[in-house]
């Protein structure tokens, strides 16, 4: 009885077997994140420092990819201008699902110091693509990058793959 109940349990990721499979798949996606570094401005330099020996971003299992097709998440580091906005959209659409977005720095979060008089600055990259994790700072410290990366991994590892409708309460 107990086992059967568990297999049908809508709140346990669809039972033992599916739950474990889901866990494995999420584990794979969260631990192996290849990123497209969309370096735009100051934050990109800090991100380069983040990649270097002292902080070593690759500890999290990330590998830089230069082609959006092979990337799992896009790291928007810096000010997004109107001239650039269309390109970000295109690159985001070129990425293969499942894809995530990390918005780094005040500028790409909300326009940052350029929010008031920046006639050519897009006030937040979330106006054109959906953002998963925001990393605040101008520019963020490497520790903030680490925190943001861990937040993304956390988010991925709790994603629902099976029985999405049930878990979201849609019958």
């Amino acid at each position: 009885m107990g086992l059967l109940n568990k297999l049908d349990d809508p709140y346990d990721g669809g039972g033992i077997i599916l739950g474990k499979v889901e866990e494995l798949l999420n584990w794979g996606r969260s631990k192996s994140d290849w990123y497209l570094h969309f370096g735009l401005a100051c934050c990109a330099i800090e991100f380069m420092a983040m990649n270097a020996s002292h902080f070593d971003f690759m500890r999290f299992g990330t590998i830089p990819r230069t082609s959006p097709r092979q990337a799992d998440f896009i790291m928007v580091t810096g000010t997004v201008t109107f001239k650039m906005a269309d390109r970000i959209k295109v690159l985001y659409e070129q990425m293969a699902e499942p894809k995530y977005v990390i918005s780094v720095g005040s500028c790409s979060n909300c326009g940052g110091p350029y929010w008031e008089h920046g006639y050519h600055v897009l006030k937040g990259v979330d106006k054109i693509i959906p953002v998963d994790v925001y990393i605040p700072g101008c520019p963020p410290r490497p520790e903030a990058f680490e925190e943001g990366m861990m937040k993304l991994q956390e988010k991925i590892s709790h994603q629902a793959i099976f029985n999405k409708r049930k878990r979201l309460g849609i019958e």
């Binding site: 109107f82 001239k83 906005a85 269309d86 006639y119 050519h120 006030k123 106006k127 054109i128």
Partner: protein, 157 residues
């Protein structure tokens, strides 16, 4: 050479095209010239042996309300002296001769001044916007500029 010497020398050649020399310490001294003769003046500033201004440090466009101004900061690599040249043109017809053929570096500077202020450089081989998108409207650094509401479906401000 000091600014007043340069001014005198220029005056002796281009008598009525050189308008005035303004010296006001601690500000930089500058020479105002007629925009129509700018190309010739710049040419001799570069080529005459006592000027030798071979290095255009900066080219600035300015909005002065009624007029638009163009400011040239010149430096001589050999003689180690500098001078500031200014020219003013009315806002309705902002036509300034291009000095791109004299100093190649002026190419992008002039495109920038055209892009942000709207100075029309005559004789420039490719006077198009450089920083803003090609389909942008208006000249943002003019004092009376108001940013558009939307650009390509994105809210500007």
């Amino acid at each position: 050479m000091l600014p007043n010497e340069i001014f005198e020398k220029l005056r002796s050649v281009y008598s009525d095209q050189i308008i005035e020399l303004i010296e006001n310490h601690p500000s930089d001294s500058f020479i105002t010239v007629n925009a129509s003769a700018l190309f010739e003046i710049c040419h001799s500033l570069r080529d005459e042996a006592f000027f030798m201004f071979d290095y255009l440090m900066s080219l600035t466009g300015m909005d002065l309300g009624e007029n638009l101004g163009v400011v040239y900061h010149l430096y001589s690599m050999q003689l180690k002296h500098k001078i500031v040249i200014k020219a003013f043109v009315p806002k309705e017809q902002p036509k300034v001769p291009s000095v791109e053929r004299i100093w190649r570096t002026a190419d992008w500077h002039e495109r920038e001044a055209y892009d942000l202020i709207g100075v029309n450089f005559e004789g420039h081989h490719n006077l198009i916007r450089i920083l803003l998108p090609y389909d942008w409207e208006g000249y943002p650094l003019r004092k009376d500029y108001t940013a558009p509401e939307m650009y390509h479906g994105m809210k500007v401000s």
